[in-house]
């Protein structure tokens, strides 16, 4: 590609500015969290003595370990089930293609751009009837359903691209459909499955609306839901609120930094399809 030195230079400066704009709020959050609790510091200023104890205080007063445990329980309830159920459906609709598959798929697509606000009111009453209001099930079960349009579309798109020859060869070798699915297609689907798992994990961890409406007790919510409650309690104590917010951000940030390549590709593919 022909690019003059001047153009490359402009590009670099622009990129650095964008990165600064992205990162500075995080930095400001961090330095504010180090100020004495109860004070009202200004945006970016290093405190005279950094109060690392704020993190400990926030961890304890927010019951952070319980929040973490609650989020993990919700993730464990949502992600494996959604993956399994969507893979089965995607395999059937993308590979086996029974009569009527197209209609079923279009019905799934209907929910793809649905804002959660559109179903939240009846979900509340539905959960109340089921006696699940205030329990983690009230978040887990609807989330699985709400993820289905995207997850089924994702897995179907994957199975459509699998070469037909592969299954035919396996069938000639006397493979049953079930065997074909578990022994051949699922192992070959690992890249698609792991990307989907990352997306579902993130969306669940960050889910707020369902948590706020369906579960009152912050200790039974997702991390994002708990953060909302945390803000209500510590809204006046800026350093403590910042410390708490940072603590709540940490788990996903660590995961992201550890698996960033996978995260970035998953998110990019996810938005390209959604």
């Amino acid at each position: 590609m022909i690019t003059s030195a001047r153009e490359a230079w402009i590009g670099r400066v622009l990129l650095v500015v964008l990165m600064l704009v992205t990162v500075l709020p995080f930095v400001s959050l961090f330095v504010t969290a180090l100020h004495p609790p109860g004070t009202y510091p200004s945006g970016l200023s290093w405190p005279e003595t950094p109060h690392w104890s704020n993190f400990v205080a926030a961890f304890q007063s927010a019951d952070m370990h319980r929040l973490l445990w609650s989020s993990i329980l919700i993730e464990l309830g949502v992600v494996p089930v959604a993956l399994l159920v969507a893979t089965l459906a995607g395999f059937a609709l993308g590979h086996l293609r029974p009569p009527g598959a197209k209609v079923v798929f279009i019905v799934f697509l209907l929910g793809l751009t649905l804002p959660f606000e559109g179903v939240i009111i009846p979900l509340y009453y539905q959960m109340r009837e089921l006696g699940l209001l205030g329990t983690r099930w009230a978040i887990i079960l609807p989330l699985i359903g709400l993820y289905m349009p995207f997850a089924v579309m994702w897995m179907r798109a994957h199975f459509v691209t699998m070469p037909k020859d592969l299954s035919e060869a396996a069938r000639i070798d006397g493979c049953s459909t079930w065997h074909l699915f578990w022994r051949i297609h699922v192992p070959l689907s690992m890249p698609a499955l792991s990307s989907l798992a990352i997306l579902l994990f993130l969306w669940t961890w960050n889910q707020f609306l369902l948590a706020v409406v369906l579960v009152d007790d912050p200790a039974k919510r997702t991390m994002a839901g708990a953060l909302g409650a945390f803000q209500g309690r510590f809204g006046n104590d800026i350093p403590l609120l910042c410390a708490g917010s940072l603590l709540i951000l940490t788990p996903t940030l660590l995961l992201f930094l550890a698996f960033q390549r996978r995260f970035v590709t998953a998110l990019m593919q996810g938005s390209l399809k959604g």
Binding site: L15, V160, L227, I238, S271, L272, K273
Partner: protein, 324 residues
């Protein structure tokens, strides 16, 4: 992008590969048909769990939302059928349609700003897409996508406060006069919320557009340069038409984010001051669970869903049309 770029709505029209082609006796044919039906039923039973979750937790509530929207109901006592009067109130009462207007204003910040800036930035960076800096940028610019929107809201309500980073920066460049509590001012609260959304979405848009631009054949640019096209001409004649699909995707994502915004507004302003940052999502929440006007809230929810569809469907059509 690479191996998953199968078109989204291709028809499942390939006939079963094992269908007999030669004429056979009716008994065989009946046996074949039975086998195919059995296989079809078996395949459909694999779809059943997904369909059950989807049906019970999405389709059923969807229908119920529509049903509630024709009733006056406080969630406890007997509901009363009121026909379309909830919808009539929705178009007449400025308190109610105000939130929809606010959401449309947010589109300017959530959608127009990130897509325009994203296009310009991606175009400037295109030339250095393979360098170390841009690899680092990829990670950094994704950070806002990883954190919960709630966290972005809390973080920015601090940055936009009287003592926050934004005002500190304005004072630094000598604009003391404009500093204020951005989220607490009637005139600036909504744009301030918009800035938060723009911050969240800019990185994603830029990277999506950049991914689209790196797929463009570089020979096109070389030809354009030889013909004497400048950077501006190049952008409008080559770059922009080539990333048409990516632009469509960015607009779809960001417009939905604006119309259905909830988390950011909930944590940064709660809809205030007054109703100046009230958005449909938040109003549905208040109406249904605090003011106990379930019917009215449902009508607003239906309107919100229709709005989203009204935006998404033409965009999808436009993006697919471009593929031909």
């Amino acid at each position: 992008m690479t191996q998953y770029s199968a078109p989204v709505v291709t028809g499942a029209t390939t006939p079963a590969a094992d269908a007999p082609s030669a004429p056979v006796d009716p008994r065989r044919r009946r046996a074949d048909l039975a086998r195919r039906l059995r296989r079809g039923a078996w395949a459909m039973s694999l779809v059943a769990p997904a369909a059950a979750f989807y049906g019970f937790f999405v389709l059923r509530p969807l229908v119920l939302t529509l049903q509630y929207s024709f009733y006056d109901w406080n969630g406890v006592t007997q509901a009363e059928w009121v026909g379309v009067s909830n919808y009539v109130a929705l178009v007449r009462d400025p308190q109610l349609y105000g939130s929809i207007l606010n959401a449309f204003q947010l589109i300017l910040f959530f959608s127009v700003v990130p897509v325009t800036l994203g296009l310009l930035a991606a175009n400037a960076i295109r030339g250095i897409a393979a360098t170390r800096l841009s690899v680092v940028a990829r990670t950094v610019l994704f950070l806002p996508q990883i954190i919960p929107l709630v966290a972005a809201g809390i973080m920015w309500s601090w940055q936009l406060a009287t003592n926050g980073l934004v005002n500190q920066f304005l004072r630094l460049i000598g604009l003391d006069g404009v500093t204020r509590a951005w989220l607490g001012d009637f005139g600036t609260a909504l744009p301030a919320v918009g800035v938060i959304g723009a911050w969240v979405l800019l990185g994603l848009c830029m990277l999506l557009l950049l991914a689209g631009m790196t797929k463009i054949d570089t020979a096109l640019y070389e030809a354009a340069r030889i013909d004497g096209a400048g950077p501006v001409r190049e952008f409008f004649s080559i770059t922009l038409p080539s990333v048409r699909q990516e632009v469509g995707i960015c607009i779809t994502i960001t417009v939905i984010a604006a119309l259905a915004s909830f988390d950011i507004v909930f944590t940064s302003t709660q809809g205030g001051p007054g109703n100046s940052t009230l958005v449909p999502g938040l109003q549905i929440y208040y109406l249904a669970f605090f003011q106990r006007e379930v019917g009215m809230a449902s009508a607003l929810a239906v309107a919100l869903m229709l709005l989203v569809l009204a935006v998404v469907l033409p965009l999808q059509w436009f993006a697919r049309d471009g593929d031909k």
